[in-house]
């Protein structure tokens, strides 16, 4: 192996290490409200977490930039979410949302990031629910950046 090849190999290993170590550090769990059973909640504690689900109808309360709502999914279980800031476009009751943050002592999910879920509900077998947001191309719905 000549020197050139050795240097290249070292650089390749360094880049690979950078990427793979980065991904482990940056990943957080993703849960649906119905999965957050008491056992799971106890395990999670105040760990950083992402929750995906739907904003329950009639649950959205806004006072200025102070927002509270309940997130649900198909199963049983709900999560009370508190978020301070301006929600992104397309955020509304009955629509998908993803929040990132952690649980407080009172069991409220304190979100520092609120995103709108989009474009993942495609199913061609039955004509899909056209009410759903279908961001079929281009850029995603923004992360307001908390």
């Amino acid at each position: 192996m000549n020197r050139q090849a050795k240097t290249l190999l070292v650089a390749a290993v360094a880049i690979g290490w950078l990427v793979f170590s980065g991904i482990k550090e940056a990943s957080v769990y993703f849960k649906y409200p119905s999965e957050l059973t008491p056992t799971v909640l106890a395990e999670l504690g105040h760990e950083e977490l992402r929750i995906g689900g739907m904003v329950a109808g009639g649950s959205l309360e806004r006072e200025g930039s102070d927002i509270r709502f309940v997130m649900v999914d198909d199963g049983e279980g709900q999560v009370l979410v508190h978020y301070v800031g301006i929600p992104p476009d397309m955020f509304a009751e009955g629509r998908g949302a993803v929040v990132e943050g952690s649980f407080t002592m009172e069991g409220v999910f304190e979100a520092h990031t609120l995103m709108v879920k989009h474009g993942e509900d495609y199913s061609a077998e039955e004509h899909p629910d056209r009410e759903n947001i279908r961001s079929d191309f281009g850029t995603g719905i923004p992360d307001p950046g908390g």
Binding site: G16, V19, E25, P88, D89, A92, E120, I133
Partner: protein
């Protein structure tokens, strides 16, 4: 049962013609590779039949859109009677089914003329339709089986009296052009990919880089334009101050771009030194596969859950097709491996070919980071059963350490020589680079100080210096050339590839300054203001809320907030809007924007209260407009490089 109109029936027939024509082209091509002559002509006819079929299908769909034929669920889902003509037309690609049709049509429209490319040998030319025919057949199959834009309601009803309409976020001129541009780039990749596969299958030794250069440039340029336009649209239309979200949809367009950019540099080494043939073939095939992989990621539902994916047949078809393609393509590459050996060993690091090896390594690293960051949720769920999400923090941590060395290489490597680099030619360029770096760093530091902005993070400081280091030697080289040719403009621009390439580099350096400046120095503040109340946003910038008016427009109601933004003592009256599109769609925002070369200030109206007060988010991003300037410079560079004589 409602009888469909003739154009729609013709369109449905057209889809079957695409399938039949491309299937025939595929079979005839395989036979022609052994028997030649008549079979090759027959394959060509098959491709033309498929192209005509795709045109018929597209015409049928457009006819249905313009005639509000809501007996087609697709038409009902992406259009409505009150939609303006531009958006009726662009509703074609307003959702999955139509996008597949556009994709299929473009593949065929590129492939049919591209087969005539001058400079390719007869044997390779005969094998050319393999990839485009397979691609068109696959897309036709997916449409006919899962996602037919021209199919009627189950049971054949007349459908609703009006359609749901196009997502209001997509009712924007930028959104009308952005997807087709991206698709032009994606599908343009079929052509170089097809030559690569044909060369591998036939085992011919010819050099394809020169004849396909302009195809690659065109696909690369359109892909770049599509990505830029998408980012521009996200910034201006989504209205939350963001311009890149590391969203899977964005990453899907970035991945083939990275592979193609690596290839474009490798092609230089191949043309000049006959090197890197294996890498180059592999990168072209990979770029093609990545265009499909992106579609698979974003359309199959796999990012939500591995289980959602397994229920969607569409996803399995995409994954299956990509897997078969990769197996065949890289199988043949491995089989031909020894025939494709590099004639010359690479020189040291300080040579063009050495730098291109590192270019491949760095772009490979960027590609790996984007690919892993995007697919990590899937991989982790498959491995552990737990869903995780990676996302923005991962990209923020891994992309700059790989991208900055890439930018550095971009500043110095153009001045290296093939085989060896003469000290006497490199030294003046390095000096010009350092001088440029110091001057540009000083200039921007002054601009920052004049606005009371901080330094903006190490990545930004490095990018600013690199911009100067890119600019300095280019200017020096330009002046030197201008002197040598005695002011003859024709002689000066005689080397379009040289100057075009350097202009692309310069544009990327400018863009990097914008990207690192905006993300490193971003400030976002939320306010709630009563009428005529003023708030200080940052030092030297204040916002006064004047009042809110409500207007009813054709497609929506708008809450228009009048504000006065004061920057450095100068008042700017601006308007920021919220829009309500009725019960089918959630509201959108139209931000107010004050943009100059030093920074962008965006004001988003969050909510209005009955007492006349309003809440705002103000986002300040230094040097953001450099993104668009740099992007435009790069696109000009692509155009320049594509001129005759390159």
């Amino acid at each position: 049962m409602v009888l469909s109109s003739l154009p729609v029936l013709l369109g449905r027939f057209g889809l079957w013609a695409v399938a039949a024509g491309s299937l025939w082209a595929l079979i005839a091509t395989v036979v022609s590779m052994r028997k030649g002559g008549g079979w090759a002509r027959s394959a060509r006819r098959g491709m033309v039949v498929a192209l005509v079929g795709a045109i018929l299908a597209a015409a049928g769909l457009e006819w249905a859109l313009f005639h509000h034929d809501f007996s087609l669920p697709y038409v009902a889902s992406v259009s409505a009677k009150n939609l303006p003509s531009l958006y009726l037309f662009s509703a074609w690609w307003g959702s999955l089914e139509g996008s597949l049709l556009l994709w299929c049509l473009l593949v065929l429209a590129f492939a049919v003329p591209a087969q005539q490319t001058k400079g390719m040998g007869e044997k390779v030319r005969r094998a050319f339709p393999l990839l485009p025919a397979a691609t068109a057949l696959f897309f036709a199959g997916v449409m006919l089986r899962f996602a037919n834009p021209l199919s009627g309601w189950p049971g054949g009803g007349a459908g609703p009296s009006d359609g749901i309409g196009l997502n209001p976020l997509l009712q924007d001129p930028g959104m009308a052009y952005h997807p087709p541009l991206l698709y032009l780039g994606f599908t343009g990749l079929v052509v170089p990919g097809a030559w690569a596969l044909a060369i591998l299958f036939t085992g011919e030794k010819e050099d394809w880089t020169k004849p396909t250069r302009r195809w690659v440039l065109a696909a690369w340029g359109m892909l770049s334009a599509g990505i830029l336009l998408g980012s521009w649209w996200a910034y201006h239309e989504l209205g939350w101050g963001g311009w890149w979200f590391w969203d899977p949809v964005e990453n899907a367009s970035l991945m083939p771009w990275l592979a193609l950019t690596a290839y474009a540099h490798g092609a230089l080494a191949q043309e000049a030194r006959g090197m890197l043939r294996r890498w180059n073939l592999g990168l072209l095939l990979l770029a093609y596969a990545l265009t499909l992989f992106g579609t698979f990621l974003t359309r199959s539902g796999i990012l939500t859950s591995v289980h959602a994916f397994s229920e969607s047949g569409l996803g399995s078809w995409f994954l299956g097709y990509i897997a078969v393609f990769l197996l065949i393509a890289f199988g043949v590459l491995a089989w031909r491996w020894d025939d494709l050996d590099d004639p010359k060993p690479p020189g040291g690091l300080i040579t063009k070919e050495g730098a291109i090896l590192y270019n491949h390594l760095l772009f490979g690293g960027l590609l790996l980071a984007v690919l892993l960051g995007t697919t990590w949720p899937i991989l982790a769920e498959l491995a552990t059963g737990e869903r995780v999400s990676g996302g923005a923090p991962f990209f923020a941590a891994t992309i700059p350490p790989i991208a900055l060395p890439t930018l550095f290489l971009m500043a110095v490597a153009p001045w290296f020589g093939w085989g060896r680099t003469g000290k006497e030619s490199l030294r003046p360029r390095l000096i010009a680079g350092v001088v440029g770096g110091v001057v540009v760093s000083g200039g921007l530091a002054w601009a920052r100080a004049s606005m009371g902005m901080g330094m903006g993070g190490w990545a930004h400081v490095v990018s600013v210096f690199i911009l100067g280091a890119v600019l300095g030697p280019i200017l020096a080289d330009f002046v030197r050339t201008a002197r040598a040719v005695g002011g003859s403009r024709k002689a000066l621009i005689k080397r379009p590839r040289h100057w075009g390439g350097l202009l692309v580099h310069l544009g990327i350096a400018v863009l990097a300054v914008g990207a690192t400046g905006a993300s490193g120095g971003k400030t976002a503040v939320d306010f709630q203001l009563a009428p005529q109340e003023t708030a200080v946003v940052v030092e030297g910038v204040s916002l006064r809320h004047v009042g809110v008016t409500v207007k009813s427009r054709k497609s929506h109601r708008a809450w228009i907030a009048n504000v006065v933004l004061t920057q450095q003592g100068k008042e700017h009256p601006l308007q920021s809007e919220r829009r309500d599109y009725g019960s089918n769609w959630p509201g959108t925002t139209e931000m107010a924007l004050l943009s100059n070369w030093k920074r962008d200030i965006a004001i988003t109206l969050a909510e209005t209260e009955s007492d006349g007060s309003a809440s705002y988010r103000v986002t300040i991003q230094p040097f953001l407009s450099w993104l668009w300037v740099g992007g435009a410079l790069s696109l000009l560079g692509f155009l320049w490089a594509g001129r005759k004589g390159g």
